[in-house]
Symmetry: C2
Subunit: 308 residues, 2 copies
């Protein structure tokens, strides 16, 4: 009955209110992250970790994790420590990627980068602290989940964070810096590792925590890889078409540094078309889940429609 | 019968052959680390991680982990992934501590530091990769151990590696740089976090993997804290009394940089006396374990007797 009433209130074409869904979950994630990360002695390092961890952001990774846990029959409470863990790993990778010896970025999420505020030494240590804490937090705080499922999630998160994931992608990205004629294969490697790997574990971990069957995990994994690549293509497009105010970080850097991007290989229009196709493919993977997959469907659309 | 025969062959005063014990286990650990860390694309990052991980060293942390697992009734096989994991975390902390923006060291374990060979960017990423891989490896490779015990170990390792452990100690160490009159309390904080925390998890994790009772874990934890502090005092002493050839790293740096050390607070002789007392206290904690604790007793003596 409640469902029926709800349907009557919402216009035909938008059966799912993503805006409300996201902002509710963003609030829950913000509160959980804030509570997870204390401010204790030595305060400077905890301040530094909190500075980047609580700098806003869309919280897409934790929201995906919560969503797939619910889709697979679990609760948001079961997935919240993992959701926070993937966001900690994501934040770690942003802090380290921004360092002077890496991408040397001054702005991130609309504020000065971590090393600009706290210095390079503390920024490196803040990243280390966030990475270590992600595992501590998941191991200690995950409740009402079978330990073997938690272990599986931690193994996948370790893989996604390390040299077979984020780190490996960043290494190849650094190697390609200033190179012309970076191959599409190499560009795909970079983004499958820098972006898709962590998105994938964000998506699959929620379902793993409730022991979802391998077929379901496989579909979710395909969904994640597709939206991951679309996400990166859109990022490349936004670097060309947006302002710093919209993005909250430096823009036009890809072109200035002659960096290989999807638009540089395919052009803007074709890049947009391919991103669109990836979202269609991603959503096709969700068909068997029916209505339960509405949030994931809407999140896929959000990735292509976002302007920042 | 084998035990009796063995006893008859060994002189009274040395009931335990630490040299053989350590070199056997060092070989096992070297082989396990070598096998754990692949050399795959992108090779540069795996080379960098292997360069530091396989640079020798005494492997005290993994050996302690294997020893307490056996003491608590387990096997070396059960503990080997964790033993490798603590060594990966230790190696990560060395790579990051040596960076130009931190301690700016050129030599480590008798060879150039990681960033001197691979560059700062790769060295940072190698540390990240090792930290992430430690957790992946423990979660994936630990066999015949209850998942809840593995989770407990991973939680403790995360804590020891992060801002409540290694990272926190390094932050306070950096804050004290160039300061005169660093208090004993602060110096103890630094070393309890930079050194003792990871030694503690090395020691306790082996026993945790077989579900040792809390009282045993507490005794092992006290043992570890005592040898951890003794280890650091001896390190400070060796920085004054050794050559670079003996230590395999830069020496005399503490005095040059006016760094607070135990000898600078207590003097050399009193530092030696206190280190000796910590080893006596450490060994006293092991009394209830009887003969099973012989390796840990001998390892405690080794820490005070070492010349490098």
């Amino acid at each position: 009955m409640v469902v029926t009433n709800h349907r009557q209130l919402v216009p035909e074409k938008s059966p799912f209110d993503l805006h409300t869904y996201m902002s509710e979950r963003q609030n829950l994630v913000e509160a959980a992250l804030n509570q997870a990360m204390p401010l204790i002695y030595p305060e400077r390092i905890f301040e530094s970790m909190r500075y980047s961890l609580l700098a806003g952001g869309k919280r897409i990774r934790p929201i995906l994790c919560l969503a797939t846990c619910e889709l697979a029959g679990g609760t948001m409470e079961m997935a919240m420590p993992t959701a926070c863990g993937v966001e900690m790993v994501h934040t770690m990778s942003l802090i380290h990627d921004d360092l002077p010896s890496m991408d040397n970025d001054d702005y991130r999420r609309g504020q000065l980068t971590n090393h600009k505020v706290f210095g390079e030494d503390i920024a490196i240590l803040a990243g280390d602290g966030l990475l270590a804490f992600a595992f501590e937090h998941i191991a200690l705080q995950t409740k009402n989940v079978a330990p073997e499922f938690i272990l599986k999630v931690m193994a996948e998160l370790g893989r996604a964070a390390g040299a077979k994931g984020l780190v490996g992608g960043q290494v190849v990205d650094l190697e390609c810096e200033g190179q012309v004629n970076v191959s599409l294969e190499t560009l795909n490697f970079i983004h499958n590792h820098k972006t898709a790997a962590l998105l994938e574990v964000s998506v699959t971990s929620g379902a793993m925590l409730v022991g979802a069957p391998p077929d379901d995990i496989k579909r979710l994994s395909n969904y994640a890889q597709n939206i991951g690549l679309a996400f990166q293509i859109v990022d490349d497009i936004l670097d060309i078409t947006s302002t710093r105010e919209q993005l909250g970080k430096s823009v036009g850097k890809d072109i200035q540094s002659c960096k290989a991007t999807y638009p540089s290989i395919w052009g803007l229009e074709e890049s947009q078309r391919r991103a669109q196709q990836l979202i269609i493919d991603a959503k096709a993977e969700l068909e068997p889940f029916g209505e339960k997959a509405l949030p994931l469907m809407a999140l896929a659309d959000f990735i292509i429609d976002r302007t920042h």
